[in-house]
Assembly symmetry: C2
Homo-oligomer: 447 residues x 2
Amino acid sequence: MTEKAARLPHVVIVGGGFGGLAAAKALAAAPVDVTLIDKRNHHLFQPLLYQVATAGLSPADIAGSIRAILARQVNVRVLLDRVYGVDQQSRRVILGDGEPLAYDWLILATGATHSYFGREDWAAFAPGVKTIDDATAIRRRILLALERAETETDEARRKALLTFVVIGGGPTGVEMAGAIAELARQSVSRDFRHITPHCSRIILLQRGDRLLPSFPHALSAKARKGIEELGVEVRLEADVTRIDNEGVVVGGERIAAQTTIWAAGVMASRVAEWLGCKGDRAGRVPVDADLHPDGDPNVFVIGDTAACTDARGRALPGVAPVAKQQGQHAARAIRAALQGHAVKPFRYRDWGNMATIGRSRAIADFGRLRVSGLPAWLLWCVAHIWFLTGHRNRVSVGLSWLWSYLTYQRGARLITGDIAPDLPATRELAPALGRKRAGAADFILMD
Amino acid sequence: MTEKAARLPHVVIVGGGFGGLAAAKALAAAPVDVTLIDKRNHHLFQPLLYQVATAGLSPADIAGSIRAILARQVNVRVLLDRVYGVDQQSRRVILGDGEPLAYDWLILATGATHSYFGREDWAAFAPGVKTIDDATAIRRRILLALERAETETDEARRKALLTFVVIGGGPTGVEMAGAIAELARQSVSRDFRHITPHCSRIILLQRGDRLLPSFPHALSAKARKGIEELGVEVRLEADVTRIDNEGVVVGGERIAAQTTIWAAGVMASRVAEWLGCKGDRAGRVPVDADLHPDGDPNVFVIGDTAACTDARGRALPGVAPVAKQQGQHAARAIRAALQGHAVKPFRYRDWGNMATIGRSRAIADFGRLRVSGLPAWLLWCVAHIWFLTGHRNRVSVGLSWLWSYLTYQRGARLITGDIAPDLPATRELAPALGRKRAGAADFILMD
């Protein structure tokens, strides 16, 4: 390996998401050495992350060790490290640890994170869902809100605890709102003594004039109907002007809510900075039809971090199939270059678009064929299990869904971390008992 | 429910572990209202926690929402709260939130945590495994050590990264050492390019003169042989005098190790403090044959937090069956008292004792019948799946084990939290490239 590494061209891939993994796999038989760098040790199946946030799945169900996924591919080396920059002149990647890494080709597939459009102060009150840690933190918030509501005696406070606001009416927002509605109104009502399905209020705020604007109007309308049937209040043209500890202000009205979730915007990773080029409004790097930024033939930018347009000039969406196809295209281009050929420009093959709303409710758009309701939901389930990485995860997710479908329960209702970080480990008992403290050293009080 | 609560006797149970849950369930048909308080929302099957720490199982596989477990039992109310003390005179429990809670009977089942025998400064370097957060933190340490070893070029540093020290030769320590050996020597070697099975060193330190002292000598010896075959170095009569950032000092010798795990001692929870009585050396509350502390007939102390002896005056071990039987006994005593009867003193029925060492290796002691090797391991697997709470967890753990058995892989190899907390989010590129910085505002450097 080390001897070969000196001779074979070196392809460096940054990011082990859909795009990076697809590129690495498509280079399996190529005469190159591949180094895949990620700052996390796992590939994450982001489309199901909202189910971790709503206690339906465990983190390990939708994530797999990148090393394990690529273990049998002998020309790949996996590196757990953080990338700080790229030096295109000397073709080197700057890492957190050790020496800069030289490349012959570089594939940048570092994805996107949520963006608060300049209101980064909102992040503390309205977390987004991009990583496993985000998802378990949101799960914690939702479950703790329900626990506190169970014992809260102040009516206004209780209402705020049982109000969940989701900001953003794209697929993530719709899926999240539907899942919270199912959790708070169906799954847990059996377990609590003082929370009935109608106690909880779930509000979905969308800035535009309809939900899921990337779908045809008819399916948008079906999604809205479906999610309203689950008990979600949908507010369109909603202008959020403030988010704080106590809720959100939308169109001048304050909504008191303990839990607010951000699903409204994404911002590409730092690749534009690394390449010293100007990103678009969402920070994405403009690429040409060969996925090169600024015409640098040794660098590819793919996936959520690339601003790529289709033949008709429309921007490609930030979805897994685009990233995968771009990863495969980059690999194909490298293989062709090694043989002295060129490849045709990248063209996205759109197989369709799906979004789920809740149990037995989904929409699917395959161009002329549009499906909704139970058939779309079954298609959605099958497709998501199919595209999951690893047989183990497929079996695990399939069984979790079957179990949830049959029992209406959620299997991962864990609150991790300290339950009551605001409470001290010990405290004086006298005030709690409404008495004067008797002895100084005694923890237990005598009358 | 609220009306009834005013009339029926009130049983308060603190702790949703094996003891507390058994007590609550055994009161299902009794004319009492039960309140179960826990500072976590989940019941944890602690005997399998080491498998979460070694990436074999997901947290949700071995934990279940206490509410969900008791959902169908209408006379139970579950409270997520922290208990600060007990006022035996006025029969009230002091909570973190809200008013003190009055009880007619109180069952204290708050368990134990790890103890460093007065060396609490060791906690930062040698974490113990008692909660899900402990387990995921240890998993993170082990997996990060392997990741860093893969790229470390300094030989001494690399050796330390691949050295894992487990302190304590009881069941937890033996199971943990065996599981780390399997993970570091078998499961992951396929995935790393520079770590072979023989690179890793796992050292099990036991203060006493044999492993698993609660088992007969012959089984202890078999366990030792089994764990040594897995590649674990066992050191008996090991006197640990120092634990720090760089490893441990044992018998004057320093062992450089990046990962040290504490499985050497437990300390009961604060119940002795709450009751104003003197705990034993491990902080446990001495109880009489009816499980009452200091003869208070309205309070029971059960499980790991009680110091209870059997008919021959031997201390009962801190294991799940003891806690469960004590919980059932307390419930039986309450039911009897309501009918004006008394119950016979508590007597522990010891069904046997098992410990697993690794794949196809375990020991089991059923008094006259002693089993080891594959039969004991199969028994261990069946018993642990049987005693898990919830069908879903049984199916999930069973399938995970089957999958691991067939593939030699671990299914939950997730590093969560920030991978490189010591690395900044951005840094200057010039020093990394070994050059002078060209422009002030430019992130990318020109030659």
